[in-house]
């Protein structure tokens, strides 16, 4: 038995012993997803037990080094764990922008002390982070952002407004792009970290077309951010005024995440499920559309696998996450259009219990943001044209 086979059988046994049956059921509502943080509560004992077992094993962030709260798994081992979890439909024990976004940025740009402090807090689900990027006047043109941090010697005074801050009202800390030099567009931005409970920070949820409010407006009114939180723990990640490098790196991660490259629902075929659910043969033209979709979805699943394999060994083009994000989100929008079409009038119900409180129409509407958030499809195409195809003037 190879080491990897050995690891697989151990992992399988560990999951069998530690993943409660309730945690192998599909996620039904927001409370089924555990985000951690100071304000977090568990929906039930199973969710708590599963989270704690993973936390203690380092499996909330399996590939992170053990000193930062991970399990130190190799890429191949992490893939085995993902496969084994997916085999039993195990839920993710902890969802977190800290894991998906800030963590990778810290691993790349953080000081050792920052990594020890923040990565462990993230891995243990103690601090919930949100991301302050977009502003009312800076969407696709993110680098034009105006939120300003004035240098006051040992601290910054931050003023401005962010928008589309996911779960800002539930987050403990924010990683935030703040202009610290008005004279340099690209080299005048600092990637700052601060507590959402700091006086002057306020949030206001935005009601979306899906009827949900996952995003907020976030206001900064004379927010005092100390320049140092401790020895080797500056307020910013990377250097002052060089936050755009961190932001760009992180956008790659965000795009990769939104792309659904790692498989799951995003890449599954849907024709058979939707036909079964309809209980009667679907219109032949709709069936044909489903078949064409399934071809694209299964091909994209292979692309996701290839992309992640290539990322691991540094073979992927650095701009490839933009392609993944473009293709993955456009596919997901198409998926939900077809789910709505196959569902017919039953898929229109907004708040009946039969419709799980309108799960289908809400999810369908939610997907429309996929090709906007984290960079629009049009921006993705711009980046592909410029950085991959090297077209002129792009």
């Amino acid at each position: 038995m190879s080491d990897l086979d050995q690891f697989r059988s151990e992992t399988r046994a560990w999951l069998e012993a530690n993943c409660p049956p309730e945690m192998r059921e599909p996620v039904r509502d927001d409370a089924d997803v555990y985000w951690g943080g100071r304000k977090a509560t568990f929906k039930n004992d199973a969710q708590k037990a599963w989270f704690e077992a993973c936390r203690d094993k380092g499996y909330t962030v399996p590939a992170w080094p053990t000193e930062y709260g991970g399990a130190g798994l190799s890429p191949a081992e992490a893939k085995v764990l993902r496969e084994e979890m997916s085999r039993i439909n195990a839920r993710s024990p902890l969802s977190s922008f800290g894991i998906w976004m800030l963590g990778p940025a810290l691993l790349q740009f953080g000081t050792e002390q920052q990594k020890l402090k923040y990565l462990n807090e993230i891995a243990r689900g103690e601090i919930r982070w949100c991301q302050g990027y977009s502003e009312p006047g800076s969407g696709s043109d993110l680098v034009s952002l105006q939120t300003y941090g004035e240098d006051k010697g040992d601290h910054w005074i931050v003023n401005g407004q962010k928008i589309w801050t996911s779960y800002a009202d539930k987050a403990d800390w924010i990683f935030c792009l703040v202009r610290t030099d008005k004279n340099d567009k690209y080299r005048g931005i600092t990637f700052m970290l601060f507590d959402m409970e700091t006086p002057g920070v306020s949030t206001k949820p935005i009601l979306l077309i899906s009827g949900n409010s996952p995003f907020c407006e976030t206001f900064f009114d004379d927010v005092e951010v100390p320049k140092q939180y401790g020895d080797g723990i500056p307020a910013q990640v990377g250097e002052v005024n060089r936050g755009w490098d961190v932001a760009k790196y992180l956008l790659g991660h965000e795009r990769e995440m939104i792309s659904g490259a790692d498989g799951g629902d995003r890449t599954a075929a849907i024709g058979a499920t939707l036909t079964r659910a309809a209980g009667a043969p679907l219109d032949p033209v709709l069936r044909a559309e489903l078949a064409m979709f399934d071809v694209d979805a299964l091909a994209y699943a292979a692309m996701g696998e290839k992309f992640l394999d290539e990322v691991k060994v540094g073979k992927a083009h650095p701009a490839q996450p933009n392609m993944m994000k473009y293709a993955g989100t456009e596919l997901n929008k198409r998926r939900h259009e077809l789910i709505m079409a196959a569902g017919g009038s039953a898929a229109l119900e907004w708040d009946s219990s039969e419709s799980s409180e309108g799960a289908k129409p809400r999810a369908w509407l939610r997907t429309k943001a996929n090709s906007i958030e984290g960079g629009t499809s049009e921006v993705m195409l711009n980046v592909i044209a410029k950085r991959i195809l090297e077209l002129p003037g792009a």
């Binding site: 024709g271 399934d294 290539e310 392609m323 592909i384 077209l391 002129p392 792009a394």
Partner: protein
């Protein structure tokens, strides 16, 4: 197994790219033989060179004198064939017929494989009956006759059929024409009496035959695999053909896309390079995305086929359909973005469009394979 080429495969890709780029180039092969009105539609000298490179026996087991490689490696050669529009009997002979012969007995392999390995023999595969690919329906009939069989019926779209020294023929030995079982595969030699070829030139300058069989007498040893049990062999041949044609399709797509992106960087209108226009940039970027995804689907299908995985055949159809979509887009955008010169025979971009059209039909088009994906998925 990671979904990219390992070091040996990357080396093979370099070798194949260099070889096809030089020896298999459009001017040297496709245009040359087309303009000569060549009856084969390809050059035998190149086939001989491909044998010297080891390509012709890439899927043939080492025990039979081949390289004993897999569909990933065969696909590497095919992608370069696609990029350069190199006409050759590689797909029908070294991929499909070789897959069939791999299921044949020692005598059959000893009779045909040496010629393939040496680049002396060319093989064809006769499956389609009618203008649309539908291997579920096989009407061509082989009845028991003495120690052998008597073959009657017709086959269409037999690519390079008139040039082939042997044709793998799927015929019905029992049951009715849409039965899954009752199929037998035969290795029919070129000199078999009663076989009629109507060889026609296709839009891409390749040659294909309408073949008629009129009381063609075959020895019992012409049977590949089991009598009446040929469906399993046929399915292997089909999957090899699907994945192979998909790999070639990705090559066509990449060749067409590269040529088009280069053109966007050279052609000036309104005082600037047309590649500066966002209307074209976005379309080129979308095309890139589609071609990348098709390529991933094809490599996945190749690996599954090599591993003998259960879902290999499903993925083979995904790959053929997706490669067809991507290549179709690549050639259409290619001609459009080239503008007027894209319509001229002098520019190669139109040749990509023609090759894509023929390749799209070969072993089933996007509609056939999307439908097959639906059926295999249970809807």
């Amino acid at each position: 197994m990671p979904l990219y080429h390992d070091d040996d495969q990357a080396m093979l890709a370099d070798t194949a790219a260099q070889f096809m780029g030089e020896e298999g180039a459009i001017a040297k092969q496709l245009r040359h033989w087309r303009d000569k009105g060549c009856k084969d539609g390809f050059g035998h000298a190149l086939w001989k060179q491909m044998a010297e490179m080891g390509f012709t026996g890439i899927l043939v087991p080492e025990a039979d004198g081949g390289l004993g490689m897999g569909h990933v490696e065969a696909g590497i050669v095919l992608e370069e064939i696609g990029r350069n529009l190199t006409p050759s009997p590689f797909l029908t002979s070294s991929v499909m017929a070789a897959t069939a012969l791999g299921q044949g007995g020692d005598d059959l392999r000893a009779r045909y494989l040496p010629g393939l390995l040496a680049g002396d023999s060319v093989f064809a595969v006769a499956i389609d009956e009618g203008a649309k690919h539908n291997p579920d329906r096989i009407a061509c009939k082989a009845e028991k006759s003495g120690n052998g069989f008597r073959l009657n019926g017709k086959k269409d779209f037999v690519v390079q059929g008139a040039s082939a020294d042997m044709i793998v023929v799927a015929a019905r030995t029992s049951g009715s024409e849409t039965d899954a079982e009752g199929i037998t595969l035969f290795a029919v030699p070129r000199d078999a009496a009663g076989m009629g070829h109507n060889s026609v030139r296709l839009v891409d300058s390749s040659m294909a035959s309408h073949i008629t069989f009129e009381n063609v007498e075959l020895d019992g040893d012409a049977v590949i695999g089991e009598v009446d049990g040929g469906r399993a062999v046929l399915n292997r041949v089909l999957d090899a053909g699907r994945v192979g044609a998909a790999a070639e399709g990705v090559g066509v797509a990449r060749g067409s896309m590269d040529m088009t992106v280069d053109y966007l960087k050279q052609r000036k209108q309104f005082g600037k390079l047309i590649g500066e226009f966002q209307a074209l940039q976005h379309r080129a970027a979308h095309l890139y995305s589609e071609v990348e995804i098709a390529r991933a689907a094809v490599i996945k299908a190749q690996q599954l086929l090599d591993a003998g995985a259960e879902n290999a055949s499903l993925m083979a159809s995904v790959a053929k359909a997706k490669a067809g979509k991507a290549a179709g887009l690549a050639v259409k955008e290619g001609v459009q973005m080239h503008g007027g010169i894209g319509m001229t025979d002098e520019y190669d971009i139109g040749l990509y469009m023609k090759r894509d059209r023929a390749l799209a039909e070969f072993m089933g088009d996007v509609y056939y394979h999307a439908g097959r994906v639906a059926e295999m998925s249970g809807y």
